[in-house]
């Protein structure tokens, strides 16, 4: 027969496994870590209302923080936001698989029609898209418009290309290939970046063009801002476009880009807020600044939107969503700068608040 020790080991392993799973499934929600301060009034609901959202990775760090903070102050609202990329977020929202979506490419007219026009676009925050790079010993890399468009077009292939050296005298540029990293998924960040490239470079406009996903002449794909940042971090000689927060928190240097005025500018939060405030938001709240003017303006900046329904069947959900959004547009904005996002200009924030009120 089976030896006693063998049997005992097997039994212990089995019991351990079962016990462990039982112990875990009994777990309730985690206790609050901080004492809630006076903030948005909690939503009156029968049990906790769960809001399911997915979409852009661009604002994901900020949204996670917002929803976590809001959830701690309002125990009856749980917001589950999954960073899946703008493309996936729009699709899930249209198909009704989520309660709200998020996208830096807002929504196209076609997509709004697919959602049966029951859509309201709400700019919640804004950010810079930076070109993060991985070059040992090279700080403050300056890239002219011709150069950075050329890098992504594949016409400039090596780091020690004379055109790059020209704007970076004294920098030790290695002889290695430039490893371009772009997005492999449908991305609002890609949309904004390609829109900017098309605005400053004819070859890009007639070539790969603008879109959430385009035919990249060169480079490898990473999934979401996270994946591109990770690739850049792990690959010597890499360069890619990511949201500023990702570069800042992972300590990857960002290139100084030549703006419309011909100056090399580093990503800046205040300067971008000014650039955005200069543009009037139309009624449907979709606006892009593809190439801001001004000496101090950083060239690639965008709003990012939350996609909500104008009318919800579940009134508890719409009430919960409204309270989350309102909190984010007021108290939440105080957290933006600390997390490297551009706070909404005052006028814009109040317009969006008014729009949130129209949600049923």
């Amino acid at each position: 027969m089976i030896s006693v020790t063998r049997f005992a080991t097997t039994a212990v392993a089995f019991i351990g496994l079962i016990g462990f799973s039982l112990a875990c499934s009994k777990k309730e929600a985690p206790p609050a870590e901080t004492t809630p301060s006076a903030s948005a009034a909690p939503v009156a609901a029968a049990g906790p209302v769960t809001l399911q959202g997915s979409g852009a990775s661009f604002p994901a760090p900020l949204y996670s923080r917002w929803f976590r903070e809001f959830g701690e102050k309002n125990k009856d609202v749980r917001v589950n936001y999954q960073s899946t990329g703008s493309g996936a977020g729009i699709k899930a929202f249209i198909e009704g698989q989520t309660d709200f979506g998020a996208s830096d490419a807002a929504m196209t007219d076609e997509e709004i029609k697919q959602a049966k026009d029951n859509v309201i676009l709400l700019p919640m925050t804004a950010g810079n898209i930076v070109l993060a790079y991985n070059l040992e010993g090279v700080t403050d890399l300056k890239l002219t418009r011709e150069v950075y468009a050329g890098i992504f077009l594949g016409t400039i292939k090596k780091w020690n290309d004379p055109k790059i050296a020209a704007s970076n005298p004294g920098a030790k540029l290695p002889k290695i290939d430039i490893s371009v990293v772009h997005r492999s998924d449908g991305s609002g960040t890609t949309f904004v970046f390609t829109q900017h490239l098309a605005a400053i470079n004819e070859k890009w406009k007639s070539g790969p063009g603008v879109g959430k996903s385009v035919e990249w002449p060169v480079g490898v794909g990473g999934a979401k801002n996270d994946g591109v940042s990770a690739q850049i971090k792990q690959t010597p000689g890499a360069i890619g476009y990511i949201e500023y927060a990702f570069a800042a928190t992972t300590k990857q240097p960002s290139a100084l880009l030549e703006n419309k005025a011909g100056k090399f500018v580093a990503p800046s939060l205040q300067g971008s807020a000014a650039a955005l405030a200069a543009v009037e938001l139309p009624a449907d709240m979709r606006a892009w600044v593809t190439d801001p003017a001004g000496d101090e303006a950083y060239p690639i900046v965008t709003y990012t939107w939350i996609l909500a329904h104008k009318k919800y069947d579940d009134k508890a959900k719409s009430a919960a969503l409204k309270s989350v959004l309102k909190w984010s547009l007021q108290d939440g904005q105080k957290l933006s700068e600390g997390l490297f996002y551009v706070p909404l200009p005052e006028k814009v924030a109040s317009n969006v608040l008014k729009a949130v009120d129209t949600i049923e």
């Binding site: 729009i90 290695i176 492999s184 998924d185 449908g186 959430k212 996903s213 385009v214 792990q234 690959t235």
Partner: protein, 330 residues
């Protein structure tokens, strides 16, 4: 002392009390019939399941096939906006990585199978090695992907750079390894198919009648002469089946490739260039595909399914044939 007479038999009263020992009651008769039908139904259910999977994929791919036709298999762009889809780089990438994996993993797998079945090491070591190889198969694909990103790719960067610098003219080394690429993906893939190839080859080798090997030894052959002249030729059918099944497994592998192959819609023979495979394409684009893209992805899924089904069916058929052959020898 009793010369004839019956032995005192075992006490059968309990046995006669058991329900099995009585003629079946009406309920039990009905249960019998019901159970039989249930078993048949579920057996057929498995066939329906396979049919269902194939049918669903074909159904969703139908419109895409009509729209894109054969061009889908021969072009290279993947543009959801302009509805321009082509999976040529993915088909080639799938085949290329799987063939590379087969070459490396197959060779290693057969070697390990030989070591495990030809008495090179003591029994206890054989058992330990067998367990280790089986555990290789148990590790989830996504963990191999994680390991590949943080261990394998950095490890390969140095040698790959050296090879690229000195042998750039050879097509295999013509680009630089920037990170993920064909080689890391193929290496991880070969690790993943190794257990399959080893297990099936081992069975095939163990089925070689010992008399044949003994005869060769008796004539003075060395161990490796026996292996090359007796064991391998005789188990060739089974080994071939093992390789085909390993190949089939490599074709369908998703996660490790999605994480390591680079997700670029290009195909090149360079081991260090990024590429893409059908399964990785599906994993990357499916979560976010709109209706137009879903159709194209279903078409790609259909292609993947047909390739893997064909290869696996071929492998199963070869195995069936090979085991029949060996039974004849016994």
């Amino acid at each position: 002392m009793a010369s004839t007479g019956m032995k005192a038999g075992p006490d059968l009263t309990e046995a006669f009390r058991s329900p099995v020992s009585r003629p079946p009651s009406a309920w039990q008769k009905n249960f019998d019939v019901a159970f039989k039908y249930l078993a048949h139904a579920f057996g057929a259910g498995v066939v329906l399941l396979l049919g269902g999977v194939v049918f669903e994929v074909m159904r969703h791919a139908k419109t895409a096939i009509a729209d894109y036709g054969f061009k889908f298999l021969t072009t290279s762009t993947w543009d959801a906006n302009r509805a321009d889809f082509g999976i040529l780089p993915e088909i080639l990438g799938t085949l290329y990585t799987s063939i590379l994996a087969l070459g490396m993993g197959g060779f290693l797998g057969i070697t390990v199978a030989l070591v495990l079945s030809q008495g090179f090491v003591p029994r206890k070591v054989e058992l330990a090695m067998k367990n280790v190889i089986e555990l290789l198969a148990a590790i989830p694909s996504v963990v191999y992907g994680l390991w590949g990103i943080f261990v394998l790719v950095p490890l390969l960067r140095g040698p790959a750079g050296w090879l690229n610098e000195h042998f750039e003219s050879i097509p295999f080394f013509s680009t630089r390894l920037s990170g993920p690429g064909i080689l890391p993906a193929a290496l991880v893939l070969s690790i993943m198919i190794l257990p399959t190839v080893t297990a099936i080859s081992r069975e095939a080798m163990a089925a070689v009648p010992k008399r044949l090997a003994a005869a060769a030894y008796g004539l003075g052959a060395t161990r490796w002469e026996v292996i090359f002249n007796v064991t391998l030729p005789t188990s060739a059918g089974g080994i071939f089946g093992a390789l085909v099944l390993g190949f089939g497994r490599a074709l369908g592998e998703t996660m490790a490739l999605a994480m390591l192959v680079g997700n670029a819609n290009v195909f090149g023979f360079s081991l260090f260039s990024p590429g893409n495979t059908l399964a990785a394409l599906l994993a990357n684009h499916f979560p976010e595909a709109g209706n137009v893209e879903v159709g194209a992805l279903m078409y790609a899924a259909l292609v993947l399914m047909l390739i893997t089904l064909a290869v696996n069916a071929l492998g199963s058929w070869i195995m069936l044939h090979a085991t029949r052959e060996l039974k004849g020898l016994g």
